[in-house]
């Protein structure tokens, strides 16, 4: 009882919010959270992990007030299941898919290397689990290459692992996130083809305030902050659209 009262009386000015963040958004979110803490006096505490695991944890009472998902389906599903604060779901970033190789000049500017097939393994994120994997599979389908190339797939469970396969050279090339190969606003190493957005459905990453964060001032402030100019500039600098 006393605890409840104390929580209720705490000034809304400085609140803490526990945020579950999709692993692919780790670095941008750390930068945003630092600015957010400085600018608002609130505190964003971040936990990083896979979207599927966070879903299971949230359904089983995990102490998160806000969820930044790697897709748009999982937040929508939580909303349908009544696990979120009504009307708080929004898209905070849109991912860009690239075909990337760690070797220079391996991938040409129009991705024609795919049709030539002069490679052994093509790394792709699991299309069932990872939004970038689904976008990659849609892209290959649009190019008419899905059936021809699927025997050469090596699948990462998520986009981070897929990147690792390509970076270590175990796969000559692979579909990864632009945010993984961007360095200081440009492609850092190797060679890449930025896949035109017209070849796949948008890779939307949605955020939502969870039911337990309904009255949390920091959660509301963070949602606002993510839509603001400062956060958007950070998000863009890491290779996401908005």
């Amino acid at each position: 009882m006393a605890g409840l009262l104390l929580t209720g009386l705490r000034p809304a000015l400085a609140d803490a919010v526990m945020v579950a963040v999709a692993a692919n958004f780790t670095i941008p979110m750390q930068a945003i959270a630092t600015e957010f803490d400085k600018d608002t006096g609130h505190q964003a505490r971040l936990a990083f992990g896979s979207t599927g695991k966070f879903y299971a944890q949230i359904r089983n009472g995990a102490p998160f007030q806000m969820f930044l998902s790697a897709d748009d389906e999982t937040p929508a599903r939580l909303e349908r299941e009544g696990m979120t604060a009504a009307g708080t779901r929004f898209t905070y970033a849109v991912g860009t898919l690239v075909l990337w190789s760690a070797q220079p000049r391996f991938v040409d500017a129009r991705g024609e290397v795919l049709g030539k097939g002069s490679f052994g393994k093509l790394a792709i994120a699991n299309a069932k689990l990872a939004p970038y994997g689904r976008a990659a599979s849609e892209t290959l389908n649009a190019l008419g290459l899905l059936d021809a190339l699927s025997p050469r797939f090596v699948q990462g469970e998520n986009i981070a692992q897929t990147f690792q396969y390509v970076q270590t050279g175990n796969a000559e090339l692979g579909f990864v996130a632009l945010s993984q190969v961007m360095k200081d606003g440009r492609i850092g190493a190797g060679s890449a083809w930025i896949v035109p957005a017209s070849l796949h459905a948008p890779i939307r990453q949605d955020a939502v305030i969870l039911k337990s964060g309904q009255g949390n001032a920091a959660a509301r402030a963070l949602a606002q902050y993510l839509k603001g100019d400062k956060a958007r500039a950070i998000i863009r600098s890491f290779g996401y659209e908005q």
Partner: protein, 225 residues
């Protein structure tokens, strides 16, 4: 409780992987355990420590180093390519190599304990009866160490079945090649297919329990007199 074709393929692959791994481990692990049990060399400590490393290392560490070492720029990767074997990651035999390393202590340590328990006198007796060392090994040491072999085989097999982190790192999730049961369960959970995840997980749980039950029922540790 039904299994899809993909689930059955994963189960079959896992059993094949565990069988091949266990056989190889018995072949490699027996002389190694024998040496560890009898040597007075200063190398005993370092070799024993290396064998035991997988017990304490997170599987991701082992998997990550294997990915780098077996990859095209790694020393082992360059060797396998030079020998015309291609690259090991993302192949069944890559998983075999990883599993042999990963399950090594579960086979070597029970064997080593069993060999150490035999003691010098039994082997000296065999020598006085003019048994050559190799003969003494097969006709005296191996039968006496039988419980150790049973434990080593069961633990090596079961531990390979339960392997996850290493496979995840170097497997690439290829059906019939590297998608083992634990990875299949992980996929089901991540895709929120909880019913399928339950079936496979329950099967894994029952299997593991039965294996350990068999181990403790039929192969009790020797009681002190």
């Amino acid at each position: 409780m039904g299994f899809s074709d993909a689930d059955l393929a994963a189960i079959w692959l896992t059993l094949r992987l565990a069988t091949v791994t266990t056989v190889l481990l018995l072949v490699i692990g027996t002389p190694l355990a024998w040496w560890l049990a009898r040597t007075r060399s200063w190398l005993k400590g370092p070799v024993g420590a290396v064998v035991a490393l997988p017990l304490v290392l997170p599987p991701t560490v082992l998997g990550f180093y294997l990915l780098v070492t077996l990859g095209p720029n790694g020393p082992v990767g360059q060797l396998t390519q030079a020998l015309g074997l291609g690259l090991l990651p993302f192949t069944f035999w890559g998983l075999v190599v990883a599993s042999v390393l990963y399950s090594m202590p579960f086979v070597v340590q029970p064997l080593q304990n069993a060999f150490e328990a035999i003691g010098e006198r039994m082997l000296e007796a065999a020598a006085t009866l003019r048994a050559a060392p190799l003969d003494a090994f097969f006709s005296v040491a191996v039968p006496l160490a039988r419980p150790g072999f049973v434990t080593a085989s069961i633990l090596g097999f079961a531990h390979t079945v339960g392997e996850f982190g290493v496979v995840l790192m170097i497997g690439g999730n290829i059906p019939n090649e590297t998608r083992v049961v634990s990875v299949q369960i992980y996929d089901h959970v991540e895709a929120l297919e909880y019913t399928q995840a339950h079936s496979l997980s329950a099967a894994m749980l029952v299997f593991s329990f039965l294996v350990l039950l068999a181990l403790y029922t039929f192969n009790p540790t020797r009681r002190k007199a």
